[in-house]
Amino acid sequence: MKKTVLGIVLAAALPAAAQDAYVVGVSAAMTGPGAGIYAPVVDAMKAYLDHVNARGGVNGKQVRLIVQDDGAEPSRAAANAKRLLAQDKVVLLINTSLSSTYAPMVAEARRAEVPLYFGGSVCPKDTYPPADPLQFCSSAFGANLDSQGALAFVKAQAKEPVRIGFAAMAIPIARAEIDYAEGLSKTMGMTPVAKQISPPPAPDYTPFATKLKDANPNWVFSWSPWVSQVRTFEALRRLGWSGRYLTWAHLNAEDELARIRDGEFYVIGTNALFQDDLPVHAEIRAVTHRANLKYPVTYLTEGFIAGLVIESALKATPWPPTPKKVLAAMNNLKVDLKGLRGGPLEWTRENHFRIRQHYRVWRWDPAKNAIVRVQDWQAIEVKR
């Protein structure tokens, strides 16, 4: 009887004791809608952590990243979170998926009291100050801040009164942002003339662009998934509209600027482009080459940043790791992003987003036949 009890106790203790590595779990949209945005982030994150492991790991221990595909489905994300927490005993849970998967993962993370880090997915408002104790985010997007940065750029560039149009995809997060931008534009002395919301799968964006063009804006701002942003722009151009178009720099922005080659198509973002040619870009290239990733290297900055954040958080977590120790480390974290953003990523107990959000703007220069920077880092304080 004693032997049996001892056996049960040992079996229960074994998974934790046998883990000679920092175990981190990811639920990501590796397939399904949005996989084009999320899968490169996860692959780059994994490639960076493999690179860290090859150099000896973190604090002399390996980092084990377990990736589960949720196909952007909430039910699968919930099942993944349950499995990662109960079976794999992860000390950190990561979400790289659609916003519809947030609620079930937050619920599971709360139940297990494990920190939940949004790496590559849109930062929920709960990470802004005053932050939810368990939720953290490093993704480039920043609701409301992005519109503030974008409209400040428009105001700085415009030499004539701004008649601005807005375009977004009919998904809650994009509609909310574009509604905010519309209201903000009025307070900044601009005249909002039209707002077009298009459904996610539109066979032809021309009918939406026609209405936008008829309102005769000299600027259009769009904040949505790339497909909606760029199709609306291309439809506007084909209709003969000659104004300026500002939009969010998604993972593929650099390649798309070179494809579209329009001098008045601007992208605003928080991650440096490869044309900035920083030393860290050579490192990303080397890691990508070693991991034999199938994506263009320009898609991988966001995942590399997530890898840097995970490495820093675990480095500040003393061995043996527990979710509580990881949480303590994340509540006081400063990550050197090596120039990939305008400054370091800083988290405090109050702010799980970042202290400052920096924006750069780029466009295609037809004269130089190259991408040029139109605005260098502009910081916006992230306040309560």
Binding site: T31, P203, T206, Y299
Partner: protein, 290 residues
């Protein structure tokens, strides 16, 4: 004028896709719910041949068109042929399974990044002035012209050629057609080949206009109401149904609310099902409850 051009382009998209639904249903009474995926496969086929025959755009296009037709024939030979004699529901379920399989296979084979076959072909999607104030993209204009040519060709084929008449006979009474020596499997395979060809061409042209996204498959589903509104066993009905749905969609976007564009095809469909379930040009006795 621009509104009329927008309606024409959208109607052409829906008509080119929905004629595939009609061809298969009219000949074999099977509703293919894998049509969106087959359309997307046609688009990926063009992307593949464009990079394979780099510098030879016409060869690439011809190869992708031939490939789309062969894929349709292969689908019949490998899967739908085995459904002969089974219930209509079993055949419909088989097409759903095929669609799921194709979706997964396309992600594995082509990845999930946006692809631009027009760029690989070395062409640009120029903007063409139309009338006084309207404009249309080169891909949009090609869609309109191709749809007109496809429908004219299909009408001629079904009325004037031996295989076309066999297809109509097999659709009207398969037992009698078989007794008269018509090889039904050959006719059905041809219908699947033609349906995949037309759907594939729609996919190719949408891809040339806007690139290939994972959402392309949903556009195939949006054309389904157009086929039903016109009458699922009528090619002329598919054409008119597409025009009705596209007009409602474009006019509501412009004059009411763009958000309605997503629901209006299905609203028109519901209205039609309530008033005339067999569609504008459909045959009343051909309705099956599935």
């Amino acid at each position: 004028m621009q509104l009329a051009v927008n309606i024409a382009v959208l109607a052409a998209i829906y008509a080119l896709i929905s004629c595939g639904y009609v061809l298969i249903y009219r000949v074999s009474r099977v509703l293919s719910l894998a049509h969106g995926e087959l359309m997307m496969l046609g688009a990926y086929g063009l992307a593949a041949t464009a990079s394979l025959f780099s510098g030879h755009p016409l060869v690439a296009i011809a190869a992708s068109i031939a490939l789309a037709f062969l894929v349709g024939v292969a689908v019949y030979a490998a899967l739908m042929w085995r459904m002969t004699g089974e219930s209509v529901l079993a055949a419909v379920l088989a097409t759903i399974a095929l669609g799921i399989l194709l979706r997964g296979a396309m992600v594995l084979a082509f990845g999930n990044q946006t692809q631009y076959p027009l760029q690989s072909l070395g062409w640009t999607n120029a903007s063409i002035a139309f009338g006084g104030s309207a404009r249309v993209s080169a891909a949009g204009l090609t869609l309109i012209l191709l749809t007109a040519a496809v429908y004219a060709g299909l009408f001629a084929f079904l009325r004037m050629t031996r295989w076309g008449i066999r297809m109509r006979a097999a659709g009207q009474n398969p037992l009698l057609a078989a007794q008269r020596g018509i090889r039904l499997h050959g006719v059905y395979a041809l219908a699947w080949g033609l349906a995949t060809l037309t759907g594939g061409m729609a996919g190719m042209l949408i891809a040339c206009d806007a690139g290939i996204e994972s959402t392309l498959v949903t556009i195939g589903l949006k054309a389904f109401p157009a086929a039903l509104v016109g009458g699922l066993d009528s090619l002329a009905g598919a054409l008119v149904g597409s025009l009705v749905v596209a007009s409602a969609e474009v006019l509501l976007i412009h004059f009411v609310d763009p958000l309605l564009s997503d629901v209006v095809p299905f609203f028109v469909l519901l209205a039609m099902l309530a008033v005339r379930p067999w569609g504008l040009f459909g045959t009343r006795e051909e309705l099956d409850r599935v």
